[in-house]
Amino acid sequence: MTVALSIVVDGIAYGMILFMISVGLSVTMGLMRIVNLAHGGFAMLGGACAHVLTMRYGVPFVPALAASVIAVIVIAIPLERLVYRHIYRFSELEQVLATIGIVFVMIATVNLFLGSTLLPIRMPPEVSIPINLGFKVLPLHRLIVIVVGLLMVTGLYLLVERTRFGIFLRAAVDNQNTAASLGIDTPKVYLAAFALGAGLAAVGGILGAELLPIEAYYPLRYMVLFLIVVTVGGMGSIVGSFIAALGLGILDTAGRYLLPDVGTIFFFLAIIALLALRPNGLLVRPS
């Protein structure tokens, strides 16, 4: 019983971090339909920025988080105007090549200025206090991540489903020409959505850094993880990504508790089985 409870708690905590680091990708790749392999790059830039602010300049964590997210959005906007705007029209393979090229540029830039070692982010010491839940001990920051994750999924769901911007975005993605002829400023909608995706990537990179530490090769190291979450969740579905992240977190944790020697194989076999049964992901928006 204790083991089952531990699996659920550790699994949800891990799953929530998986959701955090991939939610930005479920906006750019899931909603906007660009194979954005540079997603992890934005997360890394956010993390690197937070590292410099907290470690070198002693900025407290929360203002540093806000400043880093804004900095990433400021980088993302001209990038969208100058580069991504052309990438939207590419075929899928060309998108893969173009965005992986952007990743390499980002890696080389961070490597040049900050080196290839870990870039830790200083958090207030209170967040690593172990909280005793009776049957197990959990660090406070996991609880914070769980709460922030829940807020994020609710906020995004409302934004996409219940606001004018959400309607414009879905219309623009489904049929750009029709949307434009109805008076929707599609380039602006795309720009806003892309900036949102990059900003979310930065938030995820920084909050997830407790588990997936930031370093120059971060975007490549965890790329498979981001892609799995969005693919299993189903393209275009924020809630799908959320359920997928939690499910995968619990699955991976259960594997490590119960079958430690085959842990990783178990995880990937389960994903293969799932995608064989539901090739379009758990939740797919009917088009």
Binding site: A13, Y14, L119, P120, P125, L211, E215, R221, R256, P260
Partner: protein, 387 residues
Amino acid sequence: MKRLCAGLLATAIATFALGGAALAETIKVGVIATFSGPNAIWGKQFKEAIQVYVAQHGNEVNGNTIEFIYKDVGGPNPDASKAAAQELLIRDGVKYLAGFDFTPNALAVAPLINQAKVPAIIFNAATSAINKQSKYFVRTSFTLWQVAVPAAQWAAKNGAKKVVTAVSDYNPGIDAETAFGSAFEQQGGTIVEKIRMPLQTNDFAPFMQRIKNSGADTVFAFLPAGPATFAFTKAYSENGLKEAGIGFIGTGETDETTIDSLGEQAVGLTTAYHYSDAHTSDLNRAFTAKLAELFPKSRANMASMGAYDGAHLIYKMIELAGTDGDKAIEAAKGLSWESPRGPVSIDPTSRHVVQNVYIRRVERDGGRLVNREFDLVKSVPDLGFDR
């Protein structure tokens, strides 16, 4: 004394054989390592340590100019390593090879150095079996057996009764598990559980729960330095293991190049290893001061020490045997000297460095974290060579 005479004789013969022109020869040393990609830190540490050695000792030995040529192989890549060695031997005419961060990269050059009779000084690659592949290999780093066995002996002597081993599931991890386990059981301790953690593990919380449930009083951990160690030590300190009275003993997890990024969670971790940049000796202070002067952003670690002593060994071999590979290897056997890490010597059978293994604890020292030595196991050879 006998060896010294033999060395002098060898030098005299070499000098005569090569004639007067040899006095002004340039002797090239090819350094094969990783200078790009995620593992570029290895090449950087090697190169900086060599430059420190040259800055301290000049670039001339017996009137010969020593020139280091660096070749990047981009990571664990035996084919690239072999190609680099070939190019260095044939095109550049190097008389010594050096470097080798990863085991496969060292193994790949064995047939080439056998054929060319060129000594290869291994600055890192820590698998015992490498030195059996060629009599031209000499190693100045360490092996897992060399540090894991003293770790077990020390733990047994200092109150550990029941240990759980938690290692990354790859060859070095399994080596560490076997070495620690066998030595600890020999000392009368019990290994209650052996946990192998997949290399791709991001969340170590489940393993922490198993370590707790195992009823052990100490966990012996082995993980590659970097993200895995970061996440493991974080999980160790945040899941209440310290509070539950479970001690930690490791080896190279608290490497100087990543230790500061581990932060507060690393303080108090105990490890058994052969080099700490906080080692208290004049030689080490001179070494780290020169490194800080030439490369203010860098910090010395075990890779720096492997390369620094490797450079020293190459200088010594050139001094004693010039460019004759066979004589140089003979000259290296049994050499002993005072290194910044402490007294070292080259074991004539395994051609591996015999050295002290220090027991250290992570402490805060001003603005940075250091591995503070507080105990040692003297003159440990490569305990894995005969396995």
